[in-house]
């Protein structure tokens, strides 16, 4: 293997079948205490609805088999705990372990959402403090912690915008979305009942002011903007953008996915944003866990406050906290039982650990991105040259000349011990390499990454085949996604 690969080495990886393939009747992994009431006659209790033979083919294994099975499976995964994820706009930062500890405390993990409010003051205080902290960070006036993820937050944001316009007599028809936007933006706008109008970015990858001025009419409900953009570039004219929208009574929605470039440095509310969502599983360190759960709080200016989803956290005259369901203009509920409380706890723990020092995290994130950019400029093509914030977008234009594309480079990066960066997004950069190192990366890890990328660029020129057929060192090689889509096998069968 290439001797420039310093961070990764090959190691023995165990094979492991499906849990069902280890199953054998009579094995047990769990015991219950003896029943302390008379046993029920199941046939009598449930009659024709009794599932007399149990759940067919459910696994039967022992405790140690469960431990080994899932431990072995875990060793097949890359994770933040192992090293950097340079994934753009994902903000894969350290998931502090104290967050896991406090989320599991008896009295925090155990509370029922319908228990009396006077016996839930601890939970309500957590929610209240988190609200205050997020309002301070975003510079907004009101907030809901209910949405379960960023995409649901976007939906709430658009429903709030719709309710606002409806109250003013005209819900309006269109939402403007830059062509650099994340796919959830247009998908959400359609679900909220709006037509999507794409707005082309200018040569700098920013919103073109002249085009915007033309497109904003009284039929436009809002512009959905990501800031910094998905190119990692700050939308410098955001106050003008807000002005153009407000002049026609439209609103500015900000996708807060890239908040890791802004926290403690500037506040979206000050920039003219009317409503925005945050991804707690990005900027606020809650764990990705292989794809969720997340949380997508939505912060807004006063004008949208009457439309908040139910319930709204309120303080009673005696100082205690309560949930207020009596809000006639509310958009309703988007999820049962409130927000993802367990995720909200973790986000608050993160904020408390940093305090006002959260600015340092932002500075380090932006430093890391610019450090990597500086080292790789010239090695990879840089389509947009404006200053980068917390992420940088290159393209594969130079490597394409040797038949190597961004997907190949990403797969070869795996052999060097890294998770790939974001490939092929944003759509406005053909062959994109979107790199976000976050503040959790040390100089050493950044240097390993730079070195790996430089080495792959050389390989692309001199020995392109090794890049095009990567990865070479994983337990599983490239998988046949075509067969998986043509004849989907979505479950095990005996």
């Amino acid at each position: 293997m290439n001797d420039r690969i310093k961070k990764a080495t090959r190691h023995t990886n165990q094979n492991e079948g499906l849990i069902f393939e280890k199953s054998s009747p009579g094995k047990r992994a769990f015991d219950l205490a003896a029943l302390d009431v008379p046993p029920a006659n199941m046939g009598k209790e449930l009659g024709e609805f009794h599932r007399a033979n149990g759940i067919q083919d459910f696994p039967e294994v022992s405790e140690i088999e469960v431990i080994r099975h899932f431990t072995r499976l875990s060793t097949w995964n890359y994770a933040i705990d192992l090293g950097m994820y340079p994934l753009g706009s994902c903000t894969m930062k350290y998931n502090p372990r104290v967050n896991e500890h406090v989320a599991r405390l008896a009295g925090i993990a155990t509370e029922h959402p319908y228990q009396p409010q006077h016996l839930s003051q601890g939970c309500l205080k957590v929610l209240s403090l988190l609200e205050k902290c997020l309002l301070e960070i975003t510079g907004m006036d009101a907030i809901t912690l209910q949405p379960a993820a960023g995409a649901q937050g976007e939906l709430v944001g658009l429903l709030l915008i719709r309710a606002y316009h409806q109250k003013n007599g005209n819900p309006r028809k269109k939402v403007l979305i830059p062509d650099s936007a994340h796919g959830t933006n247009p998908a959400t706008a359609v679900i909220a009942g709006y037509e999507v109008e794409n707005i082309k970015s200018n040569a700098d990858g920013q919103v073109d002011i002249a085009t915007l001025r033309e497109k904003v009419t009284e039929d436009v409900a809002a512009l959905m903007l990501t800031n910094p953009s998905t190119l990692g570039i700050f939308e410098q004219q955001i106050p003008e953008i807000a002005g153009i929208l407000h002049a026609k009574g439209a609103l500015l929605y900000m996708d807060g996915a890239n908040m890791n470039a802004l926290a403690g440095i500037t506040r979206p509310g000050d920039l003219g944003v009317d409503v925005m969502h945050l991804n707690l599983h990005k900027t606020f360190s809650t764990p990705h866990g292989g794809g969720g759960p997340g949380a997508g709080p939505v912060a807004m200016k006063k004008a949208l406050e009457p439309f908040l989803p139910l319930p709204v956290l309120a303080q009673k005259a005696d100082g205690t906290l309560a949930l207020d369901f009596n809000r006639k203009d509310s958009i309703g509920k988007v999820k049962a039982f409130g927000g993802n409380f367990g995720v909200l706890v973790r986000a608050l723990a993160y904020i408390l650990a940093y305090g006002p020092g959260v600015r340092q995290a932002t500075e380090d994130a932006v430093t890391n991105a610019n450090y990597i950019r500086k080292q790789l400029e010239g090695v990879f093509d840089l389509p947009y040259t404006r200053p980068s914030m917390h992420e940088v977008v290159f393209s594969d234009a130079i490597q394409k000349k040797h038949g190597v594309n961004t997907m190949d480079i990403a797969k070869r990066l795996i052999d060097y011990g890294f998770h790939p960066y974001t490939t092929a997004f944003p759509l406005i950069v053909p062959g994109a390499l979107m790199i976000e190192p976050t503040e959790s990366e040390s100089k050493e890890e950044c240097d390993f990454f730079v070195d790996a990328m430089k080495s792959i660029a050389e390989e692309a020129e001199q020995t392109p085949e090794i890049v095009k057929t990567a990865p070479h060192t994983t337990r599983i090689r490239r998988l046949d996604e075509v067969a998986a889509a043509r004849k989907p096998i979505l479950r095990w069968k005996p």
Binding site: E481, V482, A485, R486
Partner: protein
């Protein structure tokens, strides 16, 4: 692959082959090559109406979906249901077994404004030049 001279072609890379008053429609070799391995095809039902320029079908690869636009108007008389089991026919035989629908045209004269094989081959040469520029 050569482009059959009896077909007519659109800028969106559909081909149409008229025999009598029924036309067969598919996508070209250039299109299937751009799309990659086809995994799924969505076809209209028999009896459905096609309107020139509007989408009537979609062809999916693993990572992308391509809308297919009607080159002419008419009514679907047959849909290539074999594609449910063998979507790969679009890749291996795009001008033959990979056909999508057979349509009874409402205005066969519409075909006159489409490209012939020579014009289409020139058109895709231009496209290839643009892509590598």
């Amino acid at each position: 692959m050569s482009y059959p001279t009896q077909f007519r072609y659109t800028k969106e890379h559909e081909w149409i082959d008229l025999k009598g008053d029924v036309a067969t429609i598919g996508i070209t070799d250039y299109a299937q090559h751009e799309l990659g391995d086809v995994v799924f095809v969505e076809l209209p039902a028999v009896g459905a109406t096609l309107t020139t320029g509007k989408t009537f079908s979609s062809v999916e690869s693993v990572k992308a979906v391509s809308e297919i636009y009607a080159p002419a108007s008419g009514q679907v008389v047959e849909a290539n249901t074999e594609l449910q089991n063998k979507p790969e026919s679009i890749n291996t035989d795009p001008h033959g077994a990979g056909w999508l629908v057979k349509v009874k045209l409402s205005n066969p004269a519409e075909l006159n404004s489409l490209m012939d094989a020579k014009a289409y081959e020139a058109y895709i040469e231009e496209k290839k030049k643009e892509a590598s520029a």
